[in-house]
């Protein structure tokens, strides 16, 4: 049974000796470029959905959740946390019937975009 204190969730993913790991991780990092583009697209869709932003929020929530999980698996904890923040903000915006310019969502998008941009700018990002 998982412990409730969550303390085992280290920021470091212990990487077992695995010759394929670096390849897969590089492949994932390369994908982050596409994720950054997709986030920008979703942001644009949200910006144009002035009267019914709910579907756009749902799309952002789904996107952020998927990215959060993948980031966790590959040990990119800051990216994981930024994705989680957007996921929670977008989910709350749906429940609260928030408007498209909801500040919490906009901030979370900017935070995640920043993380993605930072990772994409690095020649060989490492797990932190």
């Amino acid at each position: 049974m998982p412990r409730n204190d969550r303390s085992y969730r280290s920021n470091k993913m212990i990487t077992p000796p695995d010759p394929t790991y670096s390849e897969v991780r590089q492949s994932f990092v390369a994908r982050l470029h596409r994720e950054q583009v997709q986030l920008a697209d979703l942001h644009d869709v949200l910006g144009s959905a002035q009267f019914d932003p709910a579907p756009a929020f749902v799309a952002l929530e789904t996107f952020a959740h998927r990215l959060r999980g993948a980031a966790a698996v590959f040990g990119l904890s800051e990216l994981r946390d930024a994705a989680k923040a957007l996921e929670l903000a977008a989910g709350a915006a749906v429940s609260d019937l928030a408007s498209a310019d909801e500040p919490i969502v906009q901030d979370a998008i900017q935070l995640l975009a920043g993380r993605l941009s930072s990772l994409n700018a690095q020649p060989a990002p490492t797990a932190n």
């Binding site: 049974m1 998982p2 409730n4 969550r6 085992y8 969730r9 280290s10 993913m13 212990i14 990487t15 077992p16 695995d18 394929t20 790991y21 897969v24 991780r25 492949s27 994932f28 994908r31 789904t62 959740h65 998927r66 959060r68 999980g69 993948a70 966790a72 698996v73 590959f74 040990g75 904890s77 994981r80 989680k84």
Partner: protein, 355 residues
């Protein structure tokens, strides 16, 4: 040369044991196969590599529906599933798995980025056996998979033990053929099948001659060896996978011959007697010749099949056996059930005056 090698009298393949036939787990090949379910291909690759490093075989699926299709065709002991997936999510997959009738327990380990207590409880309530948050150390995932492996191996061991117990409950321990319990349970089913398809059904009631004298004169060990040898020879004289033999008493056996008429049963009886006659049985007290008396009968017509129950069929065979004993032993009395008019007339509601 006829050898009295003991062989197990396997039931007809058409007859399932009470709980259904079960493949026995081969302990020499404890493969543990993990099904990884996640809609993210790079996550699948990463987790696959990790799981394989723990000594497991891995298959994968991208959705819950695909996972169910994989499980229909591939034997997996552990499912490692994400939560959020298109079409069927991980919770629905868990619930579906727990509702299915699957041979062997499948251990479900949910691997999700959702980490609240409510999420964990939801996953376990849906049927997951364990819950791990994505980002957990690889060593922890491997350790939890090991728990799953132990659990499924225990399940296999218990199922094998249960299957063996069921087999023993219907098997005569000394000879390896079926026992009386099996006969009284499955002869009615054979009769029912014969009625449904209008096929004949024959039985041969056998009793070894002078067996008590053999036991007293040569010892119980020799007596046991004779019983074992008779059972083996009777099985060898009958059709594998179709006919079957049951030991119903000390030196009494019944041979059940589905889809066999009286003339076929008579030939089988002759074969059994011949096998005994041509070669002595090797025992700890030396070679011994043994004879058998038999009563043979069959249900051949739709009328006979409808009118006669399984116990009545056995009683008719026993009456014929008695006639063999009275007639000097070492013989078979062969007569159809149709000769027993009383049985047939009972169906028509006509009562004969006793003679």
């Amino acid at each position: 040369m006829q050898t009295d090698r003991r062989q197990t009298n396997l039931p007809s393949p058409r007859i399932d044991l009470e709980e259904g036939s079960i493949e026995l787990f081969d302990e020499a090949d404890p493969i543990c196969r993990v099904l990884i379910v996640d809609d993210d291909p790079e996550v699948i690759i990463r987790i696959t590599s990790l799981v394989e490093s723990g000594g497991y075989e891995v298959v994968s699926a991208r959705t819950g529906e695909e996972a169910l299709r994989v499980l229909d065709s591939v034997d997996c002991q552990i499912v490692l599933t994400d939560w959020h997936m298109p079409d069927m999510d991980g919770l629905a997959l868990c619930r579906d798995l727990r509702l299915r009738q699957i041979d062997g327990y499948i251990y479900v380990l949910m691997l999700s980025v959702r980490d609240s207590t409510a999420d964990i409880l939801a996953g376990l309530a849906a049927g997951a056996d364990d819950y791990v948050v994505k980002g957990a150390p690889a060593a922890e995932i491997i350790a939890r998979l090991a728990v799953g492996r132990r659990t499924t191996q225990l399940d296999r061991s218990l199922r094998k033990s249960n299957a063996e117990n069921r087999r023993l409950s219907v098997t005569d321990v000394l000879t390896g053929v079926h026992n009386r319990r099996f006969l009284m349970k499955y002869l009615p089913r054979e009769l029912e099948r014969s009625r449904r398809y209008n096929h004949p059904l024959a039985v041969i009631s056998c009793d070894l001659d002078n067996f008590k004298r053999i036991n007293d004169g040569f010892g119980h060990e020799a007596g046991d060896e004779i019983l074992q040898a008779f059972a083996t020879r009777a099985c060898n004289a009958t059709r594998q996978g179709m006919d079957w033999v049951a030991r119903t008493g000390g030196e009494e056996f019944v041979i059940v011959l589905p889809e066999t008429n009286l003339s076929g049963a008579s030939r089988t009886a002759d074969r059994v007697r011949q096998i005994l006659a041509v070669q002595a049985i090797s025992t700890s007290s030396g070679p011994l010749m043994v004879t058998v008396s038999m009563g043979v009968t069959a249900l051949e017509t739709a009328q006979e099949l409808a009118a006669v129950s399984a116990p009545e069929l056995l009683r008719v065979a026993d009456r014929h056996l008695f006639m063999s004993k009275q007639g000097g032993r070492d013989r078979a009395t062969v007569a159809s059930v149709g000769c027993n008019a009383e049985l047939l007339e009972r169906q028509a509601g006509i009562h004969h005056a006793t003679q």
